[in-house]
Symmetry: C2
């Protein structure tokens, strides 16, 4: 497997000098996982730590893709470049959203200052989160100054992926209960910025009050960042500049007070832990096959050995 | 730890002869987990396989507890005994439901033919599923002919617990979309029996049609059980007899065509796999402490070693 290393190394060199098809191939290797993905990760890792990562999450239908597209437009108007990872942990059967996203972002597709890529689940959900971290690092390493990570839903994996960002943007819509839903999904506690998108609809003030009230109830220490609330209309681009300013404001705050560095360290620690769990899980799957596995299962099914003792028997000699 | 074995053995003997406080103590040991729970499991396991398990699940507010209470009333009217495990995987902060359940089932509390017990999360969610299986086996081993396992919500853990039953009852209410919600939660595919509870409200026929239609779309082979639909009014007990007949009908069907035995074997296999995963997870948590852990983390944070290589380094010498 290591024999592909030179090829991967040249792909990386090419990607660093702006070759998009090389970049796309490296991202595919990361998405696919396995030894090649590890080779990419090893190459990339020492060159990371400069790019900024913005996570964009919220309930399906909140207009995240349209908002992201508007944000890209604003960033480009400032002559800055940007990368976007659109993450869909849902099953292939409900993958329509991704297609829709791609269509909505189509107007940026031919812009050399914008790189957009969708990533979907290939098997293991935890794997998607780890692959996303690797993909973000690759974009960082090749010199992308800012990556927007947009997740499709608000499940556990989506929240986990969104929280791996430097600035976390949570998108809600006007209307009673929407902010309550965001709270339920645990989004209140991870948000650095709330966006009330579709702000041309009625109920913006009420939703702002709901959010303010939830923030009142939260216990922010005096010097901690207090989430800001901005309003946008993704379809017209209204408010995109305000959102970008809010992101910049949070970035400066977090850089100055040291919370950015702390968050990044904690993120890597969590990732290491997740990798270890995944390695052990993988080992467990290997264990749960073969003759010995069948034999022990049969002893259990005939009630001559209980499940916990059977597990001990299987793990004997594997775990030290 | 094994020194408590004789004490646990006498508790088990006492529980088998009808001592409820001994039974309650054994269930507490199972709930608490650890070595004592394993001792109970080892004692209990060879004596299992006779009791029947009915899982009752559905969205919060569907009236599961009231329905369960009505079902208990009917079972007692037939002079049969029954055990109930009410499972709440939600956090202690939202534990009100359990208290409500207990109140609703209160009229059976002094009946020697009924045993009711609530189980809540103690830490790990996967642990609750495993503990529930152990608790069900304990009730089986002491001679309870039938255990009703009622889960509070329809999250992943609840569905996992409900599917560990011999007959799975899914409770919905009349009204547009309720059955669609059940479908979303993956309940359609696990249900052996659908109950339209609160059938004194409007919309019963529509809900029945929704369910029939969903079943039409499913691909049942000719000789497979086709989920039955019954209607109940939990508050009055109406339909409880019909539900019990439906459960009995499914039981006879599954016993005759061999699907009960197959389901029980598969359940044990899944449990063994879950225990192995849990053991490895536990080992992972043990690994992720100590000086060596700190050292490797620091190498990773200073970008001199990437996360995957760091994980390999940590696991070296632990995994064979």
């Amino acid at each position: 497997m290591e024999s592909r290393s030179p090829e991967i190394a040249s792909l990386f060199v090419a990607a660093c000098s702006g070759d998009r098809s090389a970049l796309a191939r490296l991202l595919s290797l990361i998405e696919r996982g396995g030894d090649d993905a590890r080779t990419v990760g090893r190459l990339v890792y020492p060159k990371t730590g400069n790019g900024y990562v913005v996570g964009i999450t919220g309930a399906p239908g909140a207009g995240k893709s349209t908002l992201t597209s508007a944000l890209i437009g604003h960033i480009r108007s400032l002559d800055q470049t940007v990368s976007v990872l659109a993450i869909d942990p849902s099953s292939p059967f409900t993958g329509g959203a991704i297609l829709g996203d791609r269509v909505r972002m189509q107007n940026h597709a031919t812009d050399a200052g914008v790189f957009i890529r969708s990533m979907a689940t290939r098997g293991h959900l935890g794997g998607l989160s780890l692959a996303t971290s690797e993909a973000v690092r690759l974009l960082d390493a090749i010199g992308s100054p800012c990556t927007l990570v947009e997740t499709v839903g608000v499940g556990q994996v989506e929240v986990e992926i969104a929280r791996n960002a430097d600035t976390i943007v949570v998108v809600v819509n006007p209307g009673w209960g929407d902010s309550v839903q965001a709270n339920k999904a645990g989004l209140l506690e991870i948000a650095d910025i709330f966006v009330i998108n579709k702000a041309d609809r009625p109920g913006v003030d009420q939703t702002r009050r709901d959010l303010e009230q939830m923030l009142e109830l939260s216990d922010f220490s005096n010097d901690a960042w207090r989430p800001t609330i901005v309003t946008t209309v993704g379809t017209t681009g209204e408010g995109a500049a305000g959102l970008w300013s809010a992101i910049d404001e949070h970035r400066q705050y977090a850089t100055t007070d040291g919370s950015l560095a702390k968050r990044r360290d904690q993120r890597l620690r969590n990732e290491l832990r997740a990798i270890i769990e995944r390695r052990l899980e993988h080992r467990a799957r290997e264990i749960c096959t073969g003759d010995r596995w069948e034999e022990i299962q049969n002893e259990m099914l005939s009630r001559s050995r209980d499940p916990w003792s059977s597990a001990d028997e299987m793990l004997q000699g594997i775990l030290q």
